[in-house]
Each structure stands twice: as C-alpha cells, then as structure tokens.
Amino acid sequence: MSHTLDGISLDPFTLVTIALTLFVLAYFIALSLGGRKKQQKVKKTYTLLKCTACEYSVEREFKEGDYVGKKEGTCPKCDGEMIITAIYVKEEDNSGSASEKIIASK
C-alpha cells in the first residue's frame, strides 16, 4: 500500500471521495443557511376607539379589560362618548430595536 502514500497524484477514487464530501458539506451548509433567512415580524395589539357623536377616532395599544363595545372616556373634540369599535393585531416589520427582536423570536 506504500504507493498510495506517495501520491499527491489524484487517483479517481480520491477524486470521487472529495467530490462527494464537498457535495454533502455544501448541501448541509445550504440547508442550515436557508432556515435562518426568515424575516422576524413584531405583532402588536391595538384598540380602535371612535366617538359616537362625530367622526373622531383614535388608535392606541391594547390594555387589559378592553373589549369591543366598551364605553371609555369622552371625545377630545366634541365631548361625545368614546366607544371601543375594534381590537386587532398588526404585524410590523422588525426594523426596530434589539428589545423588539427578542419579543419577536419568543
């Protein structure tokens, strides 16, 4: 078997082995990279309030105890009654701070 050791000369077997190894490596690298490319998005819950008398409406972050149909406060424009008309989640692109990224990855 001494003749295999002197060979930096590439025989077909070594070539095939190297090619296969490279292919498998590339495959796994591609797999592990592909999984990481997902864009993280932040979800936030908002409450939409509308005035019952005029067209005024305002969106704020959801608070515990909010529900659609709940009366809350008065309109800053006409002193009419404000009512919660919708609660929904908005997905926002994560271009923001590091703390937001932590929330998204949870």
Binding site: T45, Y67, V68, K70, I87, V89
Partner: protein, 364 residues
Amino acid sequence: MSNGSDWTTTLFVILILGSYLLSFTDLPQRMQLWRYSSFIRKKIVQLTELEEDSKRKAVKYLMSLGVKEPKKVLEGFTNNFFLISPVDVEPTDIIKRLRHLLRSRDSKVRAYVMENLPGAGEVIWENTEVILEISSALTLINKIVKHYYKLGLKYNNWILMMQLALELQQIVGLAKSYDDAIDAFMRGIPIGDGAGPLVAHYLAGNSQPEELVKETVVYNIQIDGRKVYIIKAKGPGSTVGYPGEAVEKLVEKLGGRVSKIITVDAALKLESEETGEVAHGIGAAIGDPGPEKIAIERIATKYSIPLEAVVVKMSNEEAINAMTKQIYEGVIKALNVVKDIIENTVKESEAVIVAGIGNTVGIA
C-alpha cells in the same frame, strides 16, 4: 501508472456492491427510518415544549383568579371530558343524540369550572373553559404524535414514520397557534373567528340585546323600514352560543314570516386566497359539529326561507388567534355586503334575520 487502473477496479467493485445493497436490501429504508425518526424526535421535543408552555399559561391564569391548586384543576380537566360520538350506522335521531351529548358535555365542563371558580362570573368561566380546552387539546396532539412515532419504531414501519415526519411541520404549526391562542383568551382579545359576531355587533349599533336562548342574544333594529333581527353569541366572554337554536326559536316566534336568513361566519381560506377576502353564497355558514347548522337548515326549509351566507376568509391559525387588521378590514367589507343584501333583496316592512356565527370573545 498501474495503481490508477487498480483503483478503477476497486471503485467499480464498490459501485456494483453498493448498488446491490441499495437495490436488493432494505438498507435505504432503514436509513430513511432512522433519519425520519430523529427528525420526529426533535419535533416531539418542540410539541412537548408547547404543551408545557400552554400548561404554564393556564396555571398562571388560574392562579391570577385565586384558584388555590391550579395544577390540580388543570390535571383534572386534561384527559377527562372526552366525547364519544353517537352510533352512526343507524342514523335515525343522530342529530338529537349528538346534540344531547354536546349539551351534556357543555354543562359538565361548566359545572367543573364553576366548582373551582365559584362566583367568578360568566365571562371568566367562559374564558377559563376555552383555556382548559386548548391546553388539553395540545396534550392530545402530543400524545397522538407520540403514538404513531412509537408504532412506527415498534413495527419498523418506515412509511408510517415518513408520513408522520412529512405531516409534522403542519401539526407543529397548528400546535404553536393553539399555544399562542391562549394569550388572546387570557386577555380577552377578539379572535379571527369573531368576524361573524363583530359584523353582528356593528350592524346592531347601540340597540339593546335580549337573551333569546342560553348565551345567545338577539337585537331588533330597523334598516330603511326593514325589520332586522340580529343574532350573536352573548359577549364579551368566550362563547359561540347556540345560534341554531336561537334562529329556530325566533323564526317560530315570528310565525315563519321571515323573508331571508343571512349567516355571517369566518371560513377557511384556500392557500391561494388572501386573508380577509369576503364572499357570499347560499346555505348556512356555520361550522359546528352539526346540531346548530341543521337547526338553521331545517327551519329555513320548513318555511321556505332563502338562506344566504357571507364569509370572511382566513386560515385555521388566524381563526383561533387574535384578530388581525386584514380580518378586521374583511369584517367591514362583510358588513357592507350584508347591508347591500338587505337593501337590495328584502322588501320594506319585511323581516330578515342576520346571524353572526363564531366566538365572541372580546366583543360585547
């Protein structure tokens, strides 16, 4: 260069031997079994984490309500309260029997929750029920996955293993959305399935509801001279009510003088469809196990009342999680479609019933 031809021979022999091994033994299948089972094991770890997380949340919620032994309450619920489907080879009466079983289960669950949370009130009881149900559903999903995994290993069933592995991505996604959904119910945020009740809520405006049947209310309003009866589950607790029974009772009360019944519901979208798309058609848009839907169909048939359906499309995950902005926009569209149907196809002074079907959590 004699060693070169030596290696060519060896390579040739290896290739031949290799192809024999791959073609005439079940070695490839064994390798696949091994690969798929290791993939499944990883996913089972994920499922178990989700199950534990849901349990933690449920325990935390129960603790915040002042339950002394929240773990025991949760354990007492999980695995119990199953429902055995009625005999279907003899379908006579099956709806009555199914209805009876469902109602019995509902009242048993309610009794269990009330026993552990005396005096908490309807909204809390309803939300607690759903949180317990979700947590026990996650336990069940995990158990079923483990069951097939163990069967596959036991009998070297590589096809079963492969099927399970291929399905798991979707199953884990669903489990994750179940776990997320608990947050919505804990905080009382409307979910995607609340699209129907939200349309009903908007249509009703600020008129006063009247409880028609258990956990289900009716509003009576006028739109351009048309009498509009709006049915929805009683909010803002997490319940779907009994809309079928309510429609039946209301139609009978009106002596069948109803010119149209419109059901509004969330519908599962196809992958190529957009969330929040609105469509309308014929039939009862309601996804209960059967009794409520058939009640609407039967009463409509009895008095030959046209049955129309308006749906807001969304995915399974979106239906059980906090309502997204797209679904909210769909709700506004659906509301306009319902108004159009009433204005264009119902004559003045005639009566029409609009039933907003779905879970009314977070919607009064």
